[in-house]
Symmetry: none
Subunit: 412 residues, 2 copies
């Protein structure tokens, strides 16, 4: 007897068989919504979506829960779930996500942290944790100063992100270097005003040397930024190393490509080992990329950002528009004749919340073998009654693989 | 990678953020039912429930499974599940539950057991495990005798319950006392007639002293009850200590109050650290208590017993009536304008079973952000098609917390 239920990835891996079928996963960022109180209809229920409705009628539908009921997924857990990784078991730290977001080429053993420029008073107490959200230009110039910091035995890599944000990466020099660094560190951001930044502490004895290095970096940064008020100090937090995830192409036996205009999603795809295709900044360009590489891959992750952007802005109508634009692109995708077409998202971003939400997200799985259900509209409400039920996100990829006839049976 | 999925409470705790929203959880004891064979309609499907139907139309609905498919929950696991504790991980022993049921003030280290008065013949063999269900009055008088028993190093506390039932508690004297007692004991009840009561055995070496104490108590009891036939002997079982559960108000950051007319449910709420409000014996009095304390708490657990009582009696019509009475109280609760209103139960008590059942129990979660689903009736069948799906009970509290906007997102 096995002591506990094995993770789904371990169940799937030995069942994978080769095939030539093609799979397209279209992820509408922040797809799920909530009814607008005045009409009682969500964004999906308000939008005219003839192509998605048609697809839903032909597909198996359901709702996806990315982490657990009531838990609002960040972008990291949202995507890991879609890719088949249990987000409660595989966690990606803040610093790593920030680095992925600028497509920083994190290497095994690198320690990444999120940095903020902040303001401190003469006594060293924080008066603004975001340094008045300085311009990105100024952020770029100040990170140039931070790059002059030298620490013994490690490379110091500092990359500007946006406004007051930057990424700090420590990379051990030499072969045995990786073993020297540890991300088990406390944070310097007290998350409060009128307190000085905290000294970084080792949360494990093996992290002591790394803690000393980071504290030296912070002290040097303070010296270099002394004249740069409001950005006269730094806060660092979310220390982590690049997660060692099972590689998506190997687990599923799929030549896998990611098509995403935004760097964060390219980064998340790269972390699981997908190839990230060069594409433009619009969805039309993403579709052109899909067409151009159709023959070279078995699996395409296609990311659509506009739905999330509108939701985060609390702009219900803009989200409806974004959905209708996506709907018009569906025939183009179907014209490529994928064997399995999945439409879903990484989390809900209801316009009335103007933020990520915890609500389960509609999903449709279309293939020749998906089976029929009662669902004829791609909405939260309709999909709730679909044949897939309400499933954890990490159960989607096994379903997809089955529909692609790429899994053999379990047990003789 | 984390070796296994962390328990939900550990996932939630670091995500809790403060808010001023108010939450009411109305628990209809033994809520779920089964269709009456003559009509094919369950109690919920037979009752006229206009207010619950309206609420279901506006709410996210689903079914709750308290322990696992096919497992009938007792009151302990049923409530722990509702409060967000995985009942398979957190178990409350019979003796403790019996003590909670009379609101006995169990202290850390106390050993509680359920006691029965029973009848033994001259040879000491059991002829009636319940002593002919003696009157509660007689039980009270006989426990007075048992209270005269003195044991070295411990206080002996004996409390009557009802009919032949009593609670035995051993409390170590002195500061270091708690460490001396252990509940790892076998039971004296052979669960058979014509056998003598069993000697209590230590199930762990550290319980040897406690076993000797309990055997001394039983021997003394036999001597003291010799003339009290049919209640001329005792059986003791279900030894346990008060469980050290994470405290509900601290885990969720909620000032939490329990309103329950029955002592068992007050006891269960107290075990997780809720404040138990003084209330009357009717649901109308419970609602008055709710109104009176509205400003002082963030979370109210309101318990309704009538549904379970009717179900246990196998009285289908009485259960229908109990549901209709509860339905009429819903507007009063809504008038308080809670931000999140949940209606569910701790287990099913189908009238045709006349006992607790294993069937999943309807749940509705109403809030401004709960989302819409197709469910327009609060019944087992309708809720099965709701957007919450069929969820383990311990996933309810995270959902509730999310709807109260009291959880931040998971992962960056």
């Amino acid at each position: 007897m096995i002591d506990r239920e094995p993770p789904m990835l371990d169940v799937i891996a030995p069942l994978v068989i080769p095939n030539t079928t093609k799979i397209v996963l279209v992820s509408l960022d922040g797809l799920g919504g909530l009814p607008r109180p005045e009409t009682g209809r969500s964004e999906l229920e308000t939008a005219r979506l003839p192509n998605l409705s048609q697809l839903a009628s032909e597909a198996a539908c359901g709702l996806i829960r990315h982490v657990a009921p009531g838990i609002t997924p960040g972008s990291g857990p949202g995507h890991l779930g879609l890719f088949g990784y249990d987000p409660l078991r595989f966690q990606v730290g803040r610093g790593v996500l920030e680095a992925l977001g600028i497509e920083f080429d994190l290497r095994p053993g690198d320690i990444a942290a999120r940095g903020n420029f902040c303001t401190v008073d003469r006594a060293g107490r924080i008066t603004d944790r975001r340094a008045g959200r300085i311009s990105t230009d100024l952020c770029v110039r100040l990170t140039e100063r931070l790059r002059t910091i030298r620490l013994p035995g490690v490379e110091v890599l500092v990359e500007p992100v946006k406004e007051h944000r930057f990424v700090l990466v420590l990379r051990a020099r030499g072969r045995a270097g990786a073993a020297k660094l540890s991300a088990q560190l406390s944070e310097s951001d007290p998350q409060l005003l009128d307190k000085p930044p905290l000294t970084i502490k080792a949360l494990h004895p093996k992290a002591k040397a790394t803690a000393a290095l980071v504290n030296k970096f912070v002290a040097e940064a303070r010296r270099l930024l002394a004249d740069a008020t409001p950005a006269n100090m730094v806060l660092v937090r979310g220390f982590d190393q690049s997660p060692q995830l099972p590689r998506f192409p190997e687990v599923y036996g799929l030549r896998s490509a990611a098509i995403a205009a935004y760097p964060m999603y390219r980064g998340l795809a790269r972390v699981v080992g997908m190839e990230v295709l060069k594409t433009g900044s619009t969805f039309a360009e993403e579709l052109a990329t899909l067409r151009d590489h159709w023959d070279a891959y078995d699996f395409f992750f296609v990311h659509y950002k506009d739905t999330d952007k509108a939701g985060e802005d609390g702009d219900f109508d803009a989200k409806v528009d974004a959905l209708e634009r996506l709907d018009r692109a569906i025939p183009e995708i179907r014209a490529l004749k994928p064997d399995v077409l999945i439409v879903s998202g990484d989390h809900a971003t209801p316009s009335i919340l103007a933020a990520h939400g915890w609500q389960p997200v509609p999903v449709l799985v279309w293939s020749r073998y998906c089976g029929a259900d009662v669902v004829t509209a791609f909405t939260e409400r309709a999909c709730g009654a679909g044949s897939l039920g309400v499933i954890p996100a990490q159960h989607l990829m096994p379903l997809v693989m089955a529909n692609a006839l790429r899994l053999t049976k379990f047990g003789a």
